[in-house]
Each structure stands twice: as structure tokens, then as C-alpha cells.
Symmetry: C2
Subunit: 581 residues, 2 copies
């Protein structure tokens, strides 16, 4: 490919709407173009990267006996009604009607379609296990698309669905897929990924893992215990707290706390630490408006995923506290709380055994001190609704060792159980001729997000540093001063020879300055760069440098092809060695 | 791949809703599954076929300097408003709103997206020509999806867009693409394709060609002149007629024609041939309801594409003739026709020089005879609105040599001109620094329709006969009686050896009867079949047969691998030889 003919523009200035580096570099480098919120077109370099990622994924899916299929983008609503998700999923699910007023949706995931495809095939135990997967455009009508390809509305996803006759078989396959994912990310050149247990969300099922690229710009929070290796998305990490006994049990006492609303203000005023306070977080059920009041220790935050899971058929929204509610915003506490019978009161586990806490007085400008939960609210039931915290207690080894990191989710795997096969009535006859529901797993990777994550993990200020396995081209041949006949002739010949050896070469013979040529090359991030120039020609050498600067050498003109091939092979080996470890 | 594990079902009976063979065989063979009207999922064999077709197309597009990109499926309505197509395209364009009530569409073709992607890049003449293409899901909300993958609503299409600075350059590239298309269809194993000139329809532009597979089940009609090689879709073929002069010019005479409504009835009653009659075809403008009356020779049919092109901003619908209209259905003629001023009267060229014709009398139960157009309607303007007919006059060589065939459109190429670059204001600076609009071409192939067309052109009553270049697997290894240890061991070994030679093998070692095994194999249509059986083992041979029965031989057990490789190579060569001719 001649650089001169490469469709796309490269430019110097960081676009003002790009908040993360990978987004800025992929816009500046002519990889993608904004079409609408969360919707992008791909220029040739990104298309090449994505096709290479797809091929890596395809090979690894085939290696664990996956069979590639294809489901439609546009699905009839009736299919999603069978599983109940047509109603249960929120407005991320894009619903519309066709010309005959039939309700349709844009597929955001394809569990229903997978069951639809395999329902008749999987009629006997002898057909199991099997796995089908596809690469397909997905559409999720995200409220807040952001960060370029990290959170988009339209994207290509590899989604895989496995079917099993026992939980053990699912687990064995889940484990295989787990390792296939590790190989995929390693082959794509992402060394910094970890797998964390996660919440199953709208997918249903029990066990699930997310594969995370650890990076400060990630939108997920991950709890990691360096002591025992525990790793979990904060969304699903158990929050463990301790309340120390003081020995002396104070009396409940109403204290005047004028103009003190926040936990910080109240605790400072009362000279108590936040972990000796109880705060109220108030929601409303979207359907009927009923209040849901969560009492939780003042130093902790509510984990909305846990709350959502507690109310599987309700959407909770932040409360609007009216004067008729009987609630006093800023002064709500668990003692002497006067609410109507539809209000739901929840207690987070962090309040269990709380002694001598402060809390709202349920009266304007008053708080209680001396709250003792077991004495004052002996019937309270406690559940885990809190977010795990940095320096908190590890739910696994119970040490105060938890640390919270940020990450981008680059893949996920779910044990789905029989949620879809039951609701859609897919059955097989077991060895005794008895009908059974197959057990499913599902496994997703967003192709574009993976490309952006690799860029995020591998770049400098000048551009991406693509791993050779997914780089748009393997070799970037720069002919500086192509008006020089010697340089030009040598570079032309090199271009032909490298290509005839099966190497993927981008050849820049434009009549531009070396500065422009190299800054464009940096933006394209091709791992091996060859520099032909009049000065090099005089010394009878060709320069070979890698994009990451780990290799910078001059080689004889005659050995340039050999040296390039060896370097490309060495880079390929180095990525693949990591993947096979 | 083990046949035992292949997801999908095969069955014997032709589904009652399949009107064409390829559809029936692809449903019976476990290739595709109905999801909703015009929307299908693909099982592994079809996915493999489509991926191979895509790769052939990709190679040929790259060979003519195409660059693969990707445009979104979901496009903002504003993009299509720029070109005017948001309004002009009918309800095939699926329109909806997203969660923020922004109007969006599902892309049915991507001219606007191509201009959007290339608009800034193509700012100087030096960047031209260039071509970008993609494989992407398209959605066309067809009123009548039919015939399986032949006319669907959702499909994968390769669409390519080229940009040029002169008409000559476009024409040269158009010609290159024309030949690339010939190679693509030949490499996919379709020998029976012809290119015909066609109507540009909603794409705009002037010259266009369709590539057609000639088959009686096709939904397009094609006019072919075996004398001079003229080929055209009937939609756009000029209709040429002659009217002979009788010498004697009759008087206009009102004749009582009770209960004679149709041309046949009237002509029989008056003892005149239909080609001496003038009939009226009546439409209404959809917007305002105004009548459009076309007078045309009684033996011809109106060509609605020509009418649509005559009214670019109006949709015509069949007329509903009310009593207030002043029209007498069945008796409408051009003489003494009493209509309101908004009615449009059109005359087809077939009436030019008409002498002594009969026509409607504009009075219940009356017709005229002795209609002489030049005398009775001296001001009539004539245009070509008629469908070319079998045995009609060739517009090219003017002989009575036209024949009408049926065909499936498997690809199309269009010279678009500046329709999109002008409306979307894409400009480049020419060598004199003057802004100019680039000239575009576009080039489409539907992947699934091509697969179905190949099946339609290559099948017998038992199943498809896939050309080796796109077959789901190259070799089908059948081990009849896999409970026989000798046969089983030999087949297992053969499976490993064939695969290690890089061949794509489907291995059937199921414990099923030879009858089931072979009928399943016929449905999968894999070109080379190896049969291992206890009887063959006794004779120390392995059978090799091709799906089309042109090769049927027994080979030594030891030479089976070599013989298979040679046969596969021979089949590949034979397809590729055709393609390179």
C-alpha cells in the first residue's frame, strides 16, 4: 500500500472532545470518523486492525470447538418477549416498528437468537456440548457514549453461546473459554489484563468474569487483594466491615445540629469519625414512586448494582423528597422514623453491631447520638448494599488488604444456567428419555473496544505503538527525499521485495519533509520502520527502527530484506510466546 | 470438523413455503433458519460459504486498489437529508428514533456515508482517484421478501464507492470494476452470468449495469439481442415499434361496443388486431390524487420504471376511477377526452403515426374506430413508456430479434456523477486551484444472494453442488459402518492426514445408515467425497467421487491423500482458469 493513496487524514492537534489518549490518537491518525453520538466509521487502518483481531478471536474460538454462525442485527420483538427481556431491559434496547408495524429491536446481545437457532438441533443429549459464535454489529442505545471506541452505541462484537447437559460440563467449558480469552488478549498484545469476578446484570445466571485492562482511564472499579489474589468488579465485590465494641453503651440522645446536613458536617460538629455514623440514602421506585431508604455506615457508599439486584423487577431512581413524604432530607435516621406502609427500609451490613453511632433525628436540625442498633432496632435485617473500599477488608482472606483500581472491560464470560432455555422452552431428552433444559454459557468480546484498549495500553505522545499481531501493516517503509534517484530506486525495489516475501508494507514515497513523514508514521504506529534516505544511501545502509525504539540499527543495503523479515518474525514470536505461557 | 458435532438440522421434505429450489435446499440442508420475514440466521455451512465469497470479493476489490473501510449500520437521518434521500426514498428505508428522539435510519446503501468519510480527505486533485469499500449489514424494509436469500430485508453487502476528477477516469475505473465483477462471479463458480445495462433507480446517475444470473426463477426481465449482443434490463430497455401505413385514412367513427371492456374483447368484437388499438393506463399521483393517463398501443404494457423516472418527485399509484372524475373506465380514449386541468395526458411512442386505430369513446359502451393520431391529435408529444417485448425490435441493431429472459441480479455497478458530492458539498481543488465536485461510481454485491444464486445454478434434486472455491468444506469423508474397526481406523487416520495437508475436511463417522450419510452429504454439497467402508477395505481401496458425479473412482488406500489433494487442486484450477479467461 502506498501511503500517498491511504484514505484518511492525519493531523497534529488533539481534538478538544477527546478525553482519553487512544481516542485522540485514533482520530488524529485517520483511524475513525465521528458519524453520530457513539457511532463511527472506520478508515482502512482501523479496519485492518479489527480484521486481525477478529481473526485471532476466530482461531481461538475454533480451537475450543466453536462453530461460527450469524444472527441478524434486526430481531423481532416477539423473540425477546419469550425471554422476558423485551420488557425488562431499559432504553439501551432500541425498539422500533417496521413498515408493517411489527415491533422489532436492534440486537444488543443474542442469547435469544442463539436459543432460536439451536432449539431444534439440540434435541438429544448426544448433541451436547456445543458452542456457536458470531461476529456481528450490535447496537446499544447508551445514554452516555464516551471515550471514542470504549463506550459506543454501535460496535462489532464476538459473542459466543455454549450449551451443556450439566453444570460440571459448563464449568469445564467455561474454564476452557477463560483460557482462550487469556490467549486472545495476549495475542492481541495486551499484557496487562486481569480477570475479575463480576455481576451478571441483565444477562442472568450466577458466575461471571470480566477481563479488565487496568488503566486509570477505565470506567470500571476493580477490587484487588494482593495478599490472596481476590479480584472482583466493585459492582459485585462483597463489602466487609467491622464495628468495634466500645464497652460502654450510651443512651440515645437528640442533639441540635443546626445547618449540618452532610455526614462530614455532622461528624465534624459532633466530633465523631464518619465510621461511627449512620446515613440514609433514599431512592424511589420508578413505577409507583414508593420510597426505598437505605441506612448505611457514613463512610461507605451505596452499591447501586447490589440494590438493582435486590429489586429485580423494579427500576430505582434517586428520590425527590417532598414535604408530604414525612421525611426530613439531611436528618433521616432509623429511630422514630415515620413513614407510610409502602416505604421500604433497608439496612446495610455495615450497621450490624453498630454501637454509639450518630444518625438523623427525623426532625429538622436534629441528630441522634448513642445509636445502638441491636438495642434500638432489634428486628433489623442486614444485607450487603455497600461498595467495597480501598484499604477495606478482603472478602476472601479477610485481611485489610483490598485496593481499588480502574479498568476497561475488554471481555466477559457468563454462566447463564437455564434462564433462556427455560423461558424459551428449549429441551433435550436425556439418556433416560426425560426432557431437560440445557445449561448455557455466553462469552463476549467487543472488537473495537479491544483495539482502543490496546492503543490505550501501548502508545506514547506521538501515537499508538501497535503490537505486530494486530498492527495495520507490519512494516512502514519511509523514503525520505524520494526525489533522490538512488534512494527512490532502492526504496522501490525494497518495497517489491518485502511484499514478495509476504510482508505487509506501507510505503511512504510522498514528497514531504522527513518531519511530516515520521510524525505520520508515529500516528500509524507500525512496529517496524525502514528508513531510506540519500544520507543513508551514501553510507550504503538502510535504517531499521521499531516504533517502541527498542531496536535502532543500520543494516547493509543488501541485507535489509533479510533483517526485516527476521525482526518481524522475532516480534511475532515474542507476542506469541507470551500468549502460550 | 466432525459431522456429528455440526450444528444444524437436515431433513427430507421440501418445506411448503419454499418456492425456489435453492431456498428449499438451503433450509433442508441446515444452512439457514427463518427468524422473521426476510430475516434469517446462518448455520455454520452458510457462514463458511459467505466468508469464502467475501474473501474472493475482497481480493478482487484490493486488486483494483480498493481500500476496505466500514460504515455504520445505524445512520443519522441528517446525513440522508443532505442528499435528499431521507425524503425521496420510500418505506424500504427504515426510519426510527433513538432514546433521545433523534431520527435515525438503518443503512440500505452507503453513498452518503462514503462522502462523509472521504469529504475532507479528498480535498485535492492529487488524492484522486480512490475507491473505498466495505462488507456491512444492510436493511431494506422490502414489502415482499421472497425466495429465501434472493430477496431479504437484512443482508450483508459489499458496497464500493470510487471518486474521480473526470468522467473519463470514472469510465476507465468502471471498466476495471466491470472486469473485477466478472472475475468474482467466475471464481464463485457462476458461469452463467451476463452484464446488462440497467436503470439507475434511486441511486441517481446515468450509466449502470446489472450482473444477472439467467434463470427462469429470476424476478428481473432481461432483453437480449442475439444478433448484436445488446443486453438490458427490460426496466430500462428502449421499446421500439413500427406502425405500418395502410394507405387509406379512415374517418373517426363512434361504435357501440356493449360490455366490451378489455382490449382483447374490443379487438375481437371489432375484428382488429391489438396492435391496431390504443389503450389507456391510468395512474394517480400519490400526493394530490391527480390523474395521469397514458395512451399506449394495445399490444404493449406500460413500463413503470420509465414512468417513475418521468416523475422524479412523484409517486404514481394505480388509479381509482370515481364517477366524479369524468372518466369512463374501459372506454377512455385520446379523442374528446374531458378531464380537469390537473390531469396529465401521456402518449407512448408506439402511437406515433398510428393510422386507423380503435380507441375508447369516452362514453359508456362506445369506442372509436378510424383513429389517426397525426390528424386527430396533431399536438401529441410522444415518449418511450412501453416495455420491450419478446420478438420485438432491438434498439441497437433494429432487427426483430429481441428475446426476453428472466434473471437474478447478483451485482450492480453505477456511474453516479456528482449527485452526492454536489448535494453534500464535497469539493477538491483542481490543478488550477479551482473547486470542483468529484465524480463518483458505486458497486454492489449481495453476499447471501450470490450464495443462493450459485446454489440455484448448481444443484440437483438431492442438494447443492458447491463449486470448490466457495464450498463449506472441500472434502467430505464418509466412514460407512464406523463400528468396523478397520474402516474406522483407516478413516480416522485419513482425516488427520488430509487436515495436516491443509485440506478442509468434514468427517462423518456417525453410526447412521449409508443412506442417511449420503443424503446428508448431498445436502451439504461438498465437491469431493471420500467413502471408506468395510467392503472397500476388503478390496484395499477408498472411493473418491465428486458431488457432480463427473469423477467416480477407487484408489489405493495408500494413495488416497495424494489423489484427494490432486483432485482438489484440479477443481480449484478449473474454476480459476474460467475466471482468468
Amino acid at each position: 500500500m502506498k501511503m500517498e493513496k491511504l484514505v484518511g487524514e492525519r493531523f497534529k492537534n488533539r481534538p478538544s472532545d477527546c478525553v482519553i489518549d487512544s481516542h485522540a490518537l485514533m482520530v488524529r491518525g485517520g483511524y475513525m470518523k465521528y458519524m453520530a453520538s457513539g457511532i463511527y466509521s472506520q478508515y482502512p487502518p482501523l479496519r485492518r486492525i479489527c480484521r486481525k483481531i477478529e481473526q485471532i478471536i476466530r482461531e481461538e474460538m475454533d480451537a475450543i470447538d466453536g462453530q461460527e454462525v450469524q444472527f441478524p442485527v434486526v430481531l423481532p420483538a416477539s423473540l425477546w418477549e419469550q425471554s422476558g427481556r423485551y420488557e425488562s431491559v431499559g432504553s439501551e434496547l432500541l425498539r422500533f416498528t417496521d413498515r408493517n408495524n411489527s415491533p422489532m429491536i436492534l440486537g444488543m446481545t443474542h442469547e435469544e437468537a442463539a436459543v432460536h437457532l439451536a432449539r431444534e438441533y439440540g434435541n438429544s443429549y448426544a448433541k451436547y456440548p456445543f458452542m456457536i459464535y458470531q461476529f456481528q454489529t450490535k447496537f446499544r442505545d447508551e445514554a452516555r457514549p464516551r471515550a471514542g471506541l470504549i463506550r459506543v452505541r454501535e460496535f462489532t462484537m464476538k459473542d459466543a453461546y455454549s450449551f451443556h447437559t450439566s453444570q460440571e460440563d459448563l464449568e469445564a467449558y467455561y474454564d476452557k473459554c477463560f483460557h482462550a480469552y487469556e490467549r486472545i488478549f495476549a495475542r492481541a498484545g495486551l499484557r496487562e489484563t486481569i480477570a475479575v469476578s463480576s455481576d451478571s446484570g441483565m444477562m442472568g445466571g450466577s458466575l461471571s468474569h470480566e477481563f479488565m485492562l487496568l488503566t486509570p482511564i477505565g470506567e470500571d472499579s476493580i477490587a484487588i487483594c494482593p495478599e490472596c489474589g481476590f479480584k472482583s468488579n466493585v459492582e459485585s465485590a462483597e463489602c466487609i466491615t467491622e464495628n468495634h465494641t466500645d464497652g460502654a453503651c450510651e443512651e440515645l440522645q437528640l442533639v441540635h445540629t443546626p445547618d449540618k446536613h452532610t455526614i462530614e458536617e455532622v461528624c465534624t460538629f459532633l466530633n465523631m469519625p464518619p465510621e461511627k455514623s449512620c446515613k440514609a440514602v433514599v431512592y424511589q421506585k420508578k413505577s409507583m414512586g414508593d420510597y426505598v431508604i437505605l441506612f448505611i455506615r457514613g463512610d461507605l457508599e451505596a452499591n447501586e448494582t447490589k440494590l438493582t439486584n435486590f429489586f429485580p423487577n423494579e427500576e430505582l431512581i434517586p428520590a425527590s423528597i417532598t414535604s408530604e413524604s414525612g421525611l426530613h432530607a439531611g436528618y433521616i435516621g432509623p429511630v422514630n422514623l415515620n413513614v407510610n406502609k409502602n416505604t421500604i427500609i433497608l439496612y446495610d451490613r455495615s450497621l450490624q453491631n453498630a454501637e454509639n453511632f450518630c444518625c438523623g433525628g427525623n426532625k429538622e436540625e436534629y441528630h441522634y447520638t448513642g445509636l445502638n442498633m441491636s438495642r434500638d432496632l432489634p428486628d433489623a435485617e442486614y444485607h450487603d448494599f455497600a461498595k467495597a473500599t480501598d484499604h477495606g477488608i478482603c472478602p476472601c482472606c479477610k485481611q485489610h488488604s483490598l485496593s481499588i483500581s480502574r479498568g476497561i472491560e475488554i471481555g466477559n464470560i457468563f454462566q447463564l444456567g437455564t434462564k433462556y432455555t427455560k423461558s424459551m422452552d428449549m429441551q433435550y431428552l436425556d439418556q433416560n428419555g426425560k426432557p431437560q433444559y440445557p445449561i448455557m454459557g455466553c462469552y463476549g468480546i467487543g472488537v473495537g473496544r479491544l483495539a482502543a484498549s490496546v492503543c490505550e495500553a501501548n502508545h506514547d505522545e506521538y501515537g499508538p505503538i501497535w503490537p505486530i499481531t494486530i498492527a495495520p501493516w507490519q512494516v512502514h517503509l519511509c523514503c525520505v527525499r524520494s526525489d533522490d534517484t538512488d534512494a527512490r530506486n532502492y526504496a522501490d525495489e525494497l518495497y517489491e521485495k518485502l511484499q514478495s516475501q509476504g510482508l505487509e508494507v506501507l510505503y511512504d514515497d510522498r514528497k514531504v519533509s522527513a518531519g511530516i513523514m515520521f510524525s505520520d508514521a508515529d500516528l500509524l504506529g507500525i512496529p517496524v520502520r525502514l528508513i531510506v534516505s540519500p544520507r543513508n544511501m551514501k553510507q550504503q545502509v538502510c535504517e531499521i527502527v521499531t516504533r517502541d525504539k527498542t531496536v535502532q540499527k543500520q543494516v547493509d543495503l543488501d541485507s535489509a530484506v533479510q533483517e526485516t523479515m527476521a525482526l518481524v518474525q522475532q516480534l511475532l514470536n515474542s507476542v506469541n510466546d507470551t500468549a502460550s505461557r
